[in-house]
Amino acid sequence: MSQRGFTIWFTGLSGAGKTTLARLIEGELKTLGYKVEVLDGDIIRTNLSKGLGFSKEDRDTNIRRIGFVCNLLTRNDVVAIAAAISPYREIRDEIRAQIGSFVEVYVRCPIGVLAERDVKGLYKKALAGEIKHFTGVDDPYEEPLSPDCTVETDLEFPEQSARRIIERLKEMGLVPETAGEQYTEEDEEEVRRRLEALGYA
């Protein structure tokens, strides 16, 4: 398969599920034979953007660096997947313009749900004022106005969100129509028959 590079850009609040989805999509695309690289915001801040803080200027620099690497990967026919809060619309649009083949995925989850889930324990600290400049609490998050795909992680399982993203990539002509199929209806019927044969269904 001749592969064309593109960038999938996950944006959304901390804990919304960007990394989880990035990894699921990475797995799907690798199964299809794509070369894929994930740029995870949390990891990038420990190396490429080490030392940067959370002021608007530092956040913009961080995102521009991730965008720069995504651009390099994309033009070398790799699928670059960025998973970073990337709260400012202007910078996301700037990167979209640079890369061209760019898929913005808005990972939406209400802040009330995130604060309740609080997987990393950060919301509690932010709401108590122990962490400053926390996006969604005392720092702004600018929702995408026209994302290529929106997933609602409070309402869907990650696999369902991933499936919708793959469907969107198909619609955009970035992956072949057959991509991401799990069980076809015939497969599912065969699974049912096999389970029945062992007394499980």
Binding site: G27, F157, E159, Y183, D187, E188, R192, L195, G199, A201
Partner: protein, 449 residues
């Protein structure tokens, strides 16, 4: 012995895991003692064979997911061969993409360790790994079962079979036995071929024919008068031959041989949804075919094998039980279930509340109660049964406390004498000299070196 002993990956320490799906510890011990499995006997003399507990429920999808992630279902998210879609009574079949926790081979791969993973159940569709993976039950299409795709032509040339066709039993037991033996032969051929010719640090190969044999011929294991008694033993001799071929190939690798659950003969199949109907907890439409045919007013329902769910308001479209009332109902159903008897014998061994068994991010998917039966009473979730108990074609059922684990080290090296299936992944990583990730519940069976 082969001139090749597998091409070494990049690591100094290597590990081999051979899975024997459903082989009971007690059966393995019996076959060691009566001479049916001389190679396993020889291995036991220089290693340790232990009885092992497995997951609850003790079915392969849950057990192998617990093995491969070293985690409880509350972390990996697999509670059965089928589950309900969120906010619905519609069934879906969980597959590899629903496993939420990191697998042993992903953890090994992150550390530059190359794995060959062949025929582990619940790995379909094949996900990319550092190495090669051929998915096991319930794999449907060999292309989607195989990573990377370059391996598919080899598997086809070798006439590899993903699984036994258990439907052959409808033809005859002879036809099924023949299918089991042919599938085993081809499985062994491919396992040894890949062992010898591919590069690996971690080799995981599973035989599933053991499980298929025991579902349909477990009575033959127990009864010398059975037509299939010698065929059953001959089958295990073949499996033992394979273990011998693996043992001959080993140099300094650590060998694990494990099963994912035990087996015992069935007395009766017990239909929990029938019990829930008879006791006023469940209402089903006439000629119900699945739990989608639940009717208004139901307060609980069951899924295979012993999973009971409270029909909670807000969780299910026909939910009928307030959160405040759920706790009392769980206690009441748990108490009543313990009173089920068959010919005066108690059917239920223990009823677990979900917080006794599970923890982790997938806790919300867990059944409210898990029923564990006494040996002989196979719990089922069928909705179309008019009687509480009957007998079907199956003669064997799974057991939770009689899986096996062999390790090629003396008992003195072991810290545990009664491991749990979630301990295997940590033990394997330990012997590969790799760190155990924080998401694993199990602990290495070895003393800290």
């Amino acid at each position: 012995m082969s001139s090749l002993d597998g091409i070494r990956g990049g690591r100094e320490k290597r590990v081999v895991v051979i899975g024997l799906d459903g082989t009971p510890f007690t059966l393995a011990r019996r076959f060691i003692e009566d001479g049916t499995m001389p190679n396993l006997a020889a291995l036991q003399r220089r290693g340790t064979l232990l009885q092992m507990d497995t997951s609850i429920p003790d079915i392969s999808s849950v057990a192998w997911s617990s093995f491969m992630t070293g985690a409880n279902p509350g972390r990996h998210g697999i509670y059965g061969f089928l589950d309900l879609q969120p906010g619905s009574y519609k069934i879906y079949f969980p597959n590899s993409r629903h496993i939420r926790a990191e697998t042993l081979w992903d953890a090994a791969g992150r550390n530059g360790c190359r794995s060959l993973v062949i025929n582990v159940p619940s790995t379909y569709p094949a996900r990319p790994i550092e190495g090669m993976l051929v998915a096991g039950f319930v794999a449907v299409d060999l292309n989607k079962a195989t990573y990377p795709q370059e391996l598919v032509p080899t598997l086809r040339e070798m006439d590899y079979r993903i699984d036994v066709d258990a439907r052959k039993v409808q033809q005859s037991h002879d036809a099924l036995m023949e299918d089991i033996l042919v599938t085993l032969d081809r499985r062994i051929k491919v396992l040894l071929h890949l062992f010898d010719n591919e590069k690996w640090d971690l080799f995981v190969g599973v035989i599933t024919e053991t499980d298929r044999l025991q579902h349909f011929f477990m009575d033959a294991a127990e009864s010398e008068g059975s037509k299939y008694h010698s065929a059953f033993r001959d089958f295990y001799s073949k499996v033992d031959g394979f273990l011998g071929q693996i043992a001959d190939r080993l140099r300094d690798e650590t060998l694990f041989i494990m099963s994912d659950h035990g087996f015992t003969p069935i007395e009766k199949q017990v239909y929990l949804n029938r019990w829930l109907v008879d006791n006023g907890y469940l209402k089903l439409k006439e000629n119900a075919r699945s739990i989608e045919d639940i009717e208004a007013g139901s307060t609980a329902f069951a899924l295979d094998p012993g999973r009971i769910y409270i029909n909670r308001k807000g969780k299910y479209p026909g939910g009928n039980v307030d959160e405040a009332a759920a706790g009392g109902l769980i206690d009441e159903i748990g108490r009543s279930l313990r009173t089920i008897t068959s010919d005066g014998n108690p059917v239920v061994k223990r009823v677990y509340r979900r917080d006794e068994l599970y923890s982790g991010p997938c806790f919300g998917l867990a059944p409210d109660l898990c029923v564990q039966s006494n040996y002989g009473y196979d719990l089922k979730g069928a909705v179309n049964k008019k009687e509480l108990m009957d007998r079907e074609v199956f003669t064997g059922m799974h057991t939770q406390d009689d899986a096996m684990l062999y390790v090629s080290e003396a008992a003195e090296a072991l810290a545990a004498d009664r491991p749990h299936i979630t301990d295997v992944a940590s033990s394997v990583l330990d012997r590969l000299g790799l760190p155990v990730p924080g998401g694993m519940d199990g602990r290495s069976v070895f003393h800290r070196s």
